[in-house]
Amino acid sequence: MIDLTMLQPPTLPTDYTVKLGHTKTSTGKTIRTEEMIVNMGPQHPSTHGVLRLEIVIDGEIIVDCIPHIGYLHRCFEKHCEQMTNYQQIIPYADRMDYCSAMTNEWAFVLAVERLLKIEVPERVEYIRVIMAELQRIASHLIAVGTYGIDSGAFTPFLYTFIDREKILDLFEMTCGARLLYNYIWIGGLSHDLPPNFIGQAKDFITYFHPRITMLNDLLTYNEIFVKRTANVGVLPKDVAINFAVSGPQLRGSGVNWDLRRDDPYSIYHKLEWQPQIGKGEVGTVGDCWDRHIVRMREMEQSLNIIEQALAALPEGNVKAAIPKRIRPEKDAEIYVRTEASRGELGYYIISDGTTSPFRVKARGPAFVNLSVLPEIVRGGLIADLVLTAGSIDIVLGEVDR
């Protein structure tokens, strides 16, 4: 008889010990049935980046899941302290969540603006909302497209990327960049909207409404997709709140909470819209399908917000409020949270009275949302792990910072 304890990997980072077991087959043979440790990632295609999941499985059932992160750590917070001024941090903030750069820089800029107590012109607020909502659609399109791939549907991915390309064209037209913009500046914007932007954005809205219906037909209400995602990876309401999950994942669990409404910033309170929440239409509230449908409906919601903002866009100078020198008061500090594409993105900034921050802490939604993964995959099948991890919609650039 071999010593089963010797079969454990020697470098298991946690002190987890696999449970051992034996069973007799019908032919009378004794076989081992101990738990097994499997590594998924860091280069697994469906971990959406360099995420390593250490999974303890008992047959097909997941007993425990230990995420290992940090492969993409680039010392964002340390860099912020080393910068010579606040504006230099904006491009770094872009690179946190590279699928949703516009909302990232907005959150940081908003924090600094509140620290300096500056009000930005109305036009800037409207343009920021338009950009952030376009970015939300672009980010959700990636989430939905790659989620299709996770569940075995390759085609929607190609469609979503065609649509995303149109949004990136709008961004390129405005600020020259397609992925990492450095567009939202402290107190204003780097450029005003180009003359043909409004027309093209309206064209996009009329084009995109039927595309959402098509995507829903193609993927959301597809029989196979529904069977695959309903009742899978259920995240109950109380667990979601306890783990401070946010964004579509929180609303998918049936919690009516959206920072654009509940901790208002910018001009969201002037517009007509409602947070979208999961209702468990095809399965349980908080399953993977609910998180998916919340994203689909939020895209439609964002289109409405953009439409209203474009209609009410006031005139003004977008560079009027940009301060010449940025030096917040000594020992001033602020925590500002905004609703980014993936959830609550907060910046905690402490100033020491110089032109660079004393401390910047970025509270990324992906980091917090990922921490709940072990809670929802325990007891599930290993085949559902990819779907559950995909439905969280993480971006490792933000998880690892």
Binding site: I69, G70, Y335
Partner: protein, 168 residues
């Protein structure tokens, strides 16, 4: 509830575990967005007890830990800042707790809010604050065998890591 009311209730219940209440320079109580800057200083070895009370008391119900950040104040003091909010009552509060560099120990609140688990590991990783009572205190962002805690103000980068030169 305003921060002053929360502070008064905590003061009656916990007494000397509460050290002071402060309005930061950027604070003021003008609007909701700024109200988050009022903070309450709590004793590091009472963090868990106070957190349980803040979460479970029906008038408080701070069910949502937005953010937990470590800070090195560059004067021999380390600190942890908790940003709490309540989904039920929609109020917010900031708690701070301080410890010295020589004795960096703070009680874990990961039993109270599950999200604190990873945040506290991050604080342990980058600041070297030992979180007492944490279920799984390991480094989270850096490799397990990295030397030092990078976000401390006196941090010096190690010269070699597994034979590779670190400073570029």
């Amino acid at each position: 509830m305003t921060a002053q009311e929360i502070f008064d209730i905590l003061k009656i219940r916990f007494g000397d575990a509460l050290i002071e209440e402060k309005l930061s320079a950027a604070g003021g109580s003008a609007s909701v967005g700024y109200a988050m800057q009022v903070w309450i200083n709590i004793a590091p070895d009472k963090a868990k007890e106070i957190s349980f009370f803040l979460r479970d008391d029906s008038a408080m119900q701070f069910d949502y830990l937005s953010c937990l950040s470590g800070v090195d104040y560059n004067n021999g003091t380390l600190g942890i800042v908790y940003h709490l909010s309540s989904m039920v009552h929609k109020h917010k509060i900031v708690l701070k707790t301080f410890c010295t560099k020589e004795n960096p120990h703070v009680q874990s609140v990961s039993d109270v809010w599950g999200t604190a688990n990873w945040h506290e590991r991050e604080v342990f990783d980058l600041f070297g604050i030992v979180i007492d009572g944490h279920p799984d205190l390991r480094r989270i962002l850096l490799p397990d065998d990295w030397e030092g805690n990078p976000l401390r103000k006196d941090y010096k980068v190690q010269e070699f890591y597994h034979g590779m030169k670190v400073p570029y």
